[in-house]
Symmetry: C2
Subunit: 196 residues, 2 copies
């Protein structure tokens, strides 16, 4: 933005962090396909080639965001699975997700970005994280369904997708109400779950 070339004294590590933060926000709001690298550079106050010099490509940049977002989520959700009844387990899982997402709520949208090109390496990586989360979610789901009985495998798949639809909806709502803290969200989600 200065118009002049030459270093500004910001070390690579710190710059990379700034870029990743802005990229996560941009990818999270517009999705991979709509996000523009130039816009990400703008937000970070630098120029496009610097982004390309640190991360090789748009894919590389997204992948870096993914690798920062995915593992903490998987780990937190796995740690939240205790043998308690369905509603409580759902609430615990949501609490773990909100806590993990506190620094960057957009990270969820990155893992569940529907606009990444099918078959691309980034889609495969995202799918790995999603599959891990899916497996964890399916446990709670089948437990809930088993209580009532009379269901088939497709019902299970449907309810799992509904569950992630619920999480996604809550996270998106959070993104639209950034003033809310993670604790606020946990409290709200508990009230909402109780109402069902």
């Amino acid at each position: 933005m200065t118009g002049r070339a030459g270093t500004k004294g910001v070390p690579r590590e710190e710059r990379e962090r700034q870029i990743l933060d802005e990229a996560a926000a941009e990818f999270g709001t517009h999705g991979y396909a709509h996000a523009s690298v130039a816009e990400i550079a703008n937000r970070a106050g630098i120029s496009k080639p610097l982004v390309y010099s640190y991360f090789e490509s748009k894919d590389g940049l997204f992948l870096a965001c993914l690798h920062r977002a995915g593992p903490p989520l998987v780990q937190a959700v796995a740690a939240a699975q205790h043998p308690v009844p369905g509603r409580q387990r759902a609430a615990d899982t949501l609490a773990a997700i909100f806590t993990t997402l506190e620094p960057r709520p957009h990270d969820w949208s990155i893992v569940y970005d529907p606009t990444v090109p099918a078959g691309s390496p980034i889609e495969q990586q995202a799918r790995k994280y999603r599959r891990a989360l899916n497996r964890l979610g399916a446990v709670g789901v089948s437990e809930v369904l088993a209580d009532v009985g009379g269901y088939d495998a497709k019902d299970e798949s449907l309810l799992t997708q509904v569950w992630f639809g619920v999480v996604t909806a809550m996270v998106r709502w959070w993104q639209q109400h950034p003033a809310q803290t993670a604790s606020d969200m946990i409290a709200r989600s508990q009230r909402v779950i109780a109402a069902l």
Copy 2:
């Protein structure tokens, strides 16, 4: 695809219907921003300029899809609102939605397409339909919340968003399992709702 110009004897009205069908599928799967008019033309077995001669622009094409998708949904959902307890009302509403969506499940994704450019006329039109559906959904939501009490306006907004997240998740699941009929979906959704 013939390679030759000249009429193929298909009257405008029928061609428009074909184009709209393919456009709905394409917009529904890839979203407005990713959908390519050339690809829509391909699927319909015609060339791009014909699409532009019937619908003026990509916006015009999307708008036509919107106007075919929105009103039936709003009307069906409105008609499904009876003064019954929360769970039952949700099931009724879902049944109305699935029935309306039977010919083209992608129509839901068109009304809720997150990739339409903000501020554009098509976004404003889509927002109108969404707002209508939202108002109807909010009635059921506030009723559900009132039963337990101790909630605020933000909780209401959150639960409304969650409700539409649930519907969207179910419709998306349907799109991935096209062999299911509307009746199948209604039965599944009822089982799932009962399990909560």
